[in-house]
């Protein structure tokens, strides 16, 4: 009798768990696809110092660096050699990114970056990453900027240039 009750409790618990988990997964799946892939520490991210080392090294494939942030921030300072695409948070920016992608092989090493806001609040990198991912690009990384481009790149003395 006691064992049966425990078994019943276990089944009920599983049922409740399923109710709790399954709908939330459905509701959040789309919004979280990039968020999960770009969670701090994930393999899709590249740290500023690692990107700098990569750019300064004579070895290894150099990535195509695409800025998907606001233009006013890009004009003040950006990574030398990076291209301005447009803000990933607006449809025009995503369209520009798709257009830029059409000329590239799907295994092209691409680094996306923004740096407008603290990482968890950046509205640009996740939609941009999602767009490239959906377009079939297989070698895309996102520059992990914890606070903002100033703090995590410029004020560390890493190279920048101004203008468009």
């Amino acid at each position: 009798m006691k064992n049966s009750f425990r078994y019943l409790c276990f089944i009920v618990a599983l049922g409740i768990l399923a109710v709790m988990v399954v709908p939330s997964r459905h509701a959040l799946a789309q919004a979280q696809s990039a968020a999960d892939a770009l969670a701090p520490g994930s393999a899709q991210l590249i740290n500023p110092e690692d990107l700098l080392n990569l750019l300064q090294s004579s070895k290894g494939e150099k990535p195509l660096i695409l800025n998907v942030g606001p233009s006013l921030l890009y004009m003040q300072a950006h990574i030398p050699g990076s291209e301005y695409i447009g803000a990933g948070s607006d449809a025009q920016g995503i369209e520009s990114l798709r257009r830029r992608g059409k000329a590239l092989p799907h295994n092209k090493f691409i680094v996306l970056y923004c740096g407008c806001c603290p990482w968890s609040h950046c509205p640009n990198v996740r939609p941009a990453y999602d767009a490239l991912h959906k377009a079939g690009f297989t070698n895309v990384k996102v520059l992990y900027i914890a606070d903002n481009f100033g703090t995590d790149w410029v004020y560390k003395g890493y190279p920048t240039i101004k203008g468009q």
Partner: protein, 175 residues
């Protein structure tokens, strides 16, 4: 038997909390002053959203809260209702809030201005103003400028409102 039930309930709760995830949002602390500490805040001459001239020099003698923000910036959006409240609360004592938007165009800013019932002047920023303030390379960035026109504090990231309010009160007391 009751222990078993309790255990199951606790496990469900723990797992539920784990699934939902607790995410903390990083809050910025005062990041120190611009390169020349307590230097005169650089003047600027812009047009506000109504086309009226907006010049910092016209607010000398007031305490100015200068907010660099954008409509797409989540922490900025969280701060603005507090700034609206501060403007109302401390207007008579001499506080003037000024917003400089780093948006790429005026349309979203105008909509936002109406929606949030902003009660202080807002202008679109440009590269020149941003450079004058040491580079606006991330948002939000908030400056507090004393009645003497000198920069009293700079906050990079989301401001802790109690700290900011304390600083505003302290600056307002200085005649």
């Amino acid at each position: 038997m009751r222990k078993s039930v309790l255990l199951v309930v606790v496990l469900i709760l723990v797992f539920g909390i784990y699934r939902l995830g607790w995410r903390s949002s990083g809050r910025a602390k005062p990041s120190g002053l611009p390169p020349a500490a307590h230097s005169l805040a650089p003047d600027f001459s812009l047009q506000d959203l109504n086309g009226q001239p907006l010049e910092l020099a016209n607010y000398r003698g007031k305490v100015v809260l200068l907010d660099f923000w954008a409509t797409w910036c989540t922490p900025c959006r969280g701060e603005i209702p507090h700034f609206v409240e501060f403007q109302d609360k401390y207007r008579q004592q001499g506080l003037q809030v000024i917003g400089i938007s780093m948006d790429d165009g005026p349309k979203p800013v105008q909509e936002f201005y109406q929606q949030y019932k902003m009660n202080y002047p807002v202008a679109l920023g440009n590269e020149k103003v941003a450079q004058a303030y040491g580079g606006i390379l991330g948002l939000p960035i908030t400056f507090l400028i004393g009645r003497d026109g000198r920069v009293a504090a700079k906050y990079v990231g989301e401001v802790q409102m109690p700290t900011l309010e304390q600083e505003i009160e302290s600056l307002l007391q200085a005649k």
